[in-house]
């Protein structure tokens, strides 16, 4: 039992084990990733056997391209994320035939080779393989390149409906490309679940803000001497905002006429309600307003703002 034997046995166990998981896993995506492990172990076997170029081509083409293509197809066919129960046929005949094939081939090869030993060949260089490919095997190589080109063109023609893919025999059973939401019941259920979760979270946040506001109101009422009729900060701010909005609109038609009567229609900012002040849009609409509007605003300040409590502005926004 040499080191190469041990390596080969270990890699073979990995390859066969993950290959068994490929054909038995109930998750489509996991089957793809087990296929990566299996193909990587086979690439390691190639390395031990002295075929380096084949090993790296295996890693590049199989692990890098073929498995990625397969996973793309898994995603494009909208495979479910969890386990799929209807992935398999009944196991009986398949297991019988598979076991028969494996047993027969194994017995055949065991009987053919027994316990013969052989020396590992000198590690094959890419140079020798390249000389062989472009020397003795150049015709199959060229045929293979034409085959690749044909496969490429064939794949494009198959998947482009405007040049190759014909509609169904009646032309009517072509299903329109599915919209992501009107898809399967599963997707719809998932979207509904997400919406319900969002609604619950919003309701929770709103209730929290309401509780905070109530607590703040109570604290404000207590601080202002226990007068229950004292307007809370919210009310004052809301009234001010209403004044700004509606008085401005009332004053709009009276443009150029008498002075706007409202003392509070001037461009004033409502403190602390939103992060940025109200833009001075009313300025052109009310040309004479600001000089006259300012004194009454100063002399008669609106109702005193109750003391500001931290953490309240966020509640106002929500």
């Amino acid at each position: 039992m040499t080191v190469a034997d041990a390596l080969m046995l270990a890699l073979g166990v990995i390859a066969v084990g993950s290959g068994a998981l490929v054909v038995t896993s109930a998750h489509l995506v996991r089957a793809g990733f087990y296929l990566v492990v299996s193909l990587g172990a086979v690439a390691g076997l190639y390395l031990v056997l002295g075929a380096e170029l084949v090993a790296w081509v295996q890693v590049l083409v199989y692990v890098g391209a073929v498995v990625v293509l397969l996973l793309f197809a898994v995603m494009l066919t909208r495979a479910p994320i969890g386990p799929s129960p209807d992935l398999d046929r009944p196991a009986g005949p398949a297991a019988l035939i598979g076991a028969g094939v494996g047993l027969g081939l194994s017995v055949l090869l065991l009987d053919a080779f027994r316990w013969t030993r052989y020396d590992l060949p000198p590690p094959g260089t890419g140079r020798r393989v390249g000389e062989q490919i472009f020397g003795a095997w150049v015709l199959p190589f060229e045929v293979l390149s034409i085959l690749l080109l044909a496969a490429l063109v064939g794949a494009i023609v198959l998947s482009r409906p405007d040049i190759g893919a014909r509609p169904g025999p009646e032309g009517a059973d072509v299903v329109a490309p599915p919209s992501p939401t009107g898809e399967s019941a599963e997707v719809v259920a998932r979207l509904e679940r997400i919406a319900a979760r969002q609604a619950a979270a919003q309701a929770r946040v709103r209730a929290q803000h309401a509780a905070e506001a109530a607590a703040a109101n109570q604290a404000a009422a207590e601080e202002s001497g226990g007068e229950p009729a004292e307007p809370t900060r919210d009310d004052v701010l809301r009234e001010q905002a209403r004044n700004v909005v509606f008085r401005a609109r009332e004053a709009g038609p009276a443009l150029g006429g008498e002075d706007p009567p409202a003392p509070e229609t001037g461009p004033r900012r409502v403190e602390n309600t939103v992060g940025e002040p109200i833009p001075d849009d009313e300025q052109p609409a009310l040309p004479p307003a600001p000089p006259k509007a300012l004194p009454p605003k100063d002399t008669a300040p609106p109702k005193a703002l109750p003391p500001r409590t931290p953490g309240k502005d966020e509640g106002d926004d929500a």
């Binding site: 296929l35 293509l69 197809a73």
Partner: protein, 122 residues
């Protein structure tokens, strides 16, 4: 080293591929199982490339013992098989995706094979 190890590994991989092709209903999983079988064949080719001549060293050299006069023929065959497998996967996935676009399913059991004839008979 023992010549039999890679061959038995390849035989087991091929058996797993056969089992997968027969068992799976999803077309993409069937393609994965086909990849397993192709890898088993590649492994046989590479192992034969490495071991056949030295295994047959005591045998009278015959023409069949040296199918290719050049060395590394097995590795080159393996390369060719890898390229063909890539082409096969490309076309196969194009067919699967086109079928999915038409029928919204990739289940092999439910592919109507005689649809055209039935509709012509109608």
């Amino acid at each position: 080293m023992h010549a039999v190890i890679p061959y038995v590994i390849a035989a087991l991989l091929f058996a797993l591929g056969v089992y997968g092709v027969l068992r799976r209903r999803n077309a993409i999983l069937v393609l994965m199982a086909v990849e397993l079988m192709l890898n088993a064949v590649n492994l046989i080719l590479v192992a034969a490339d490495a071991s056949i001549k030295s295994t047959l060293s005591g045998v009278q050299p015959e023409a069949w013992a040296y199918p290719a006069p050049e060395p590394k023929a097995g590795a080159i065959f393996a390369l060719f098989v890898i390229v063909i497998a890539a082409a096969e996967v490309g076309v196969g996935l194009a067919i699967v995706l086109q079928y999915y676009r038409l029928r919204r399913a990739v289940v092999l059991d439910e592919v109507p094979l005689h649809e055209h004839e039935e509709q012509e008979a109608r």
